[in-house]
Symmetry: C2
């Protein structure tokens, strides 16, 4: 692959670009709404060139990576649709995959053969191209969710790019992805936001009594609100399902406490600790 275009050169798009440029000879063109940001990306060596004109930005590229917030995908797909060749691979980095596929079907009539939906499970607290990091995806998981329409060649090409960055690539259907991420990412975020909502609802000074453990637990409540609003509505069924499922686990703890089931609660805590400690060993 000789030339790619990245739409949205922020943390993820920028880190993808930096990683590729450090390992292979490839021309990377940036596209975005803000010339200031694109200039900064070029200055940092993240992209070779940029254009505010989509026709120019897509000229001669073999792959377009959409790395903007998921809710902008419809506009972006409509914008690039007239200007991409049949061979141009399209991919993205959105954190919900069913909604991306639905949007692509809506814009293109059917899922394009060369569209490979992708989600790198990696991030940072900081955002923007200044935080871009060429090794961000090293040893991180990237999930590809091709549909029945997607051709194998495109999947292989996208897989190889991510593997170049040191990522571990896994392929699954979008339903499985959205269900898994609802559990491991969306649910914890809802719990963190909810906890802040609940505590502040109980009085301004409550948080004065929070200690060290609270700092880590609540960190994800400092995530970007508009991004998480969009995730909520792009994966609403799975998120609601798992919030309700989680409430069943909370009900179980309440039941153990109310009935004085000391052994059962200790067992649950031991198992939770063991699961977490074992998970951590692999990280």
């Amino acid at each position: 692959m000789n030339k790619i275009c990245i739409i949205g050169v922020g943390l993820i798009g920028g880190s993808f670009a930096l990683g590729l440029k450090s390992t292979k000879k490839i021309e990377i063109v940036g596209f975005g709404r803000s010339e200031v940001h694109l200039q900064q990306a070029q200055k940092l060596g993240v992209i070779d060139a940029y254009s505010l004109d989509i026709v120019e930005a897509l000229s001669g590229v073999e792959l377009v990576l959409i790395a903007t917030p998921v809710n902008s995908f419809k506009n972006i797909l409509e914008m690039i649709k007239p200007h991409i060749g049949e061979q141009t691979i399209v991919s993205d980095v959105g954190s919900t995959k069913g909604s991306v596929i639905a949007t692509a079907k809506e814009v293109f009539g059917a899922m394009p053969e060369n569209f490979v939906p992708a989600h790198p499970i990696a991030g940072k607290e900081k955002s923007g191209v200044d935080a871009a990091d060429g090794v961000l995806f090293n040893n991180k998981l990237v999930i590809l969710t091709p549909t029945k329409n997607t051709n194998a060649h495109s999947v292989t090409q996208v897989r190889e790019l991510w593997e170049t960055l040191g990522a571990k690539v896994e392929v699954m259907d979008s339903k499985t992805h959205d269900d898994l991420l609802a559990m491991t990412s969306h649910l914890p975020h809802m719990l963190a936001f909810s906890l802040m909502d609940y505590l502040t609802g109980n009085g301004k000074s409550v948080l004065d009594y929070a200690a060290g453990g609270f700092k880590d637990f609540s960190r994800i409540a400092s995530s970007d609100a508009s991004m998480w609003r969009d995730i909520c509505f792009n994966n609403s069924d799975d998120i609601v399902k798992h919030i309700k499922g989680f409430q069943g686990s909370l009900d179980k703890i309440v039941d153990f406490i109310e009935k004085g089931k000391t052994q059962e609660i200790e067992r649950l805590f031991i198992d939770a600790k063991t699961a977490r400690d074992n998970w951590l060993k692999d990280k």
Copy 2:
């Protein structure tokens, strides 16, 4: 104060001792069940001497600090009861205060005048005397929960010791303490344990898809299971009340998602983020 006895020379008791020894001339005697641990504490310079005989350990001390798990308090209070003078101050570091006061009343018939229940809001992931740290309480909050019986002199003495260690001391009644800590500490722990329980209940491999944010969020699920079992049953009413209250906040998010209330959910996330960011500024 010239001589104190610490019962249970672990992380908290040991850090208290180290902090005091670094700032004033004071003799500290350790008491515990394990001679190996006490020898180690002495070797580390945490205590000046130790005894496995409670009469010897309490001889001539002006204050006894109980720094063992809360569920051992009844045995310990019964053990020390015949051997402490009327002037000897008793204090503790237990993380639930209503239960400590109830136990003291049970053992002594009424709350002793010289008993000052205390709870330093500080800790570490590690436990044991090897992790003891003389500056652990610096700038940390210590809550004292004297009862109507407690004499002012004892409260002042205990307050001054903690202030010597750089702690900020606040006095409140035990009900307020237990309610606040149920919100800021016990509830988050229940959520972290529950989340691990829920996720592992959905299949062994679910956690493979958890990323960086999950690591911080789940850290407190690696806390000691038997300690948290005891906290659950020593503050059961408040914990159950706040789990149920928190479920109301979760229900609100579900309602917002199901009804497509995008603005309301974004508002909630913004407020959560703001509250967390503001809280962090003071830390």
